[in-house]
Subunit: 142 residues, 2 copies
């Protein structure tokens, strides 16, 4: 059993706003336009500001943005301080130009490294009626 | 700009079937029952069989399971051979007992290390009407 893995970042968030831009490093750029087949993408990114031993030791969290939320195991939260600081986000793809992706809905920061990009496939990835705790709805978008 | 990250695996797939079991390592087990607040989880796992230089150098793929699919950039695919061999799957949570999660719909192998678990939140994660290329529908579930 292996206990560690090594990531090589494939790009970086260049700008953040209603529309955000991601620069893909040149070694991964070939045929990047094939992403245009999809309207939505899964972005896995690195919470680089949380990549330190203290934040990666976070195992219990209270979700202060959600009134009434209990203290929970970190894996029952989307908290960026967690053992592996990987963020997950579904974005709308606006355009692909050379190595620059323009997307809508990215919830990370400028400078965040990108770990992976995958096409979003609704039949396996979308569970629109998934049940969630009441306190998730009392807070802002997680 | 940092170009590498280090993962510490948090668990392992113990058995695979219609229902699969995931063992969470003991250091992460406290309050794991708080996952019971959710009916669906996002599982990030490690394609450990693809964690070698040859498979991680895969940048272009032809999706042979999908008739008529073109050669595409690996990030336009869910191919397990990719620069960072992280798998993504949405599963239904059946039960949590001590350090064992029983889930339905896990698409990995016995022995696959687990990278992260997150609650599935439909309002940010579900895009049921996302448009996809025709050839995605000609193949088996991605």
């Amino acid at each position: 059993m292996v206990y560690e893995g090594r990531l090589r970042f494939i790009g970086v968030v260049e700008s953040k706003g209603e529309l955000s831009t991601i620069k893909i490093f040149s070694e991964y750029e070939k045929k990047l336009s094939s992403l245009n087949n999809f309207f939505h993408l899964i972005i896995l990114y690195w919470f680089h500001l949380q990549d330190n031993e203290k934040e990666r030791s976070t195992l219990q969290v209270v979700l202060r943005r959600h009134t009434g939320a209990p203290q929970v195991n970190v894996f029952a939260s989307r908290n960026p301080s967690r053992p592996n600081p990987i963020g997950f986000c579904v974005v709308e793809l606006i355009s692909v130009e050379y190595c620059i992706l323009t997307v809508r809905g990215l919830d990370t920061f400028e400078g965040s490294p990108i770990v992976d990009i995958k096409p979003y496939v609704p039949k396996s990835d979308a569970v629109p009626n998934a049940t969630i705790p009441e306190w998730v709805n009392t807070g802002i978008k997680t």
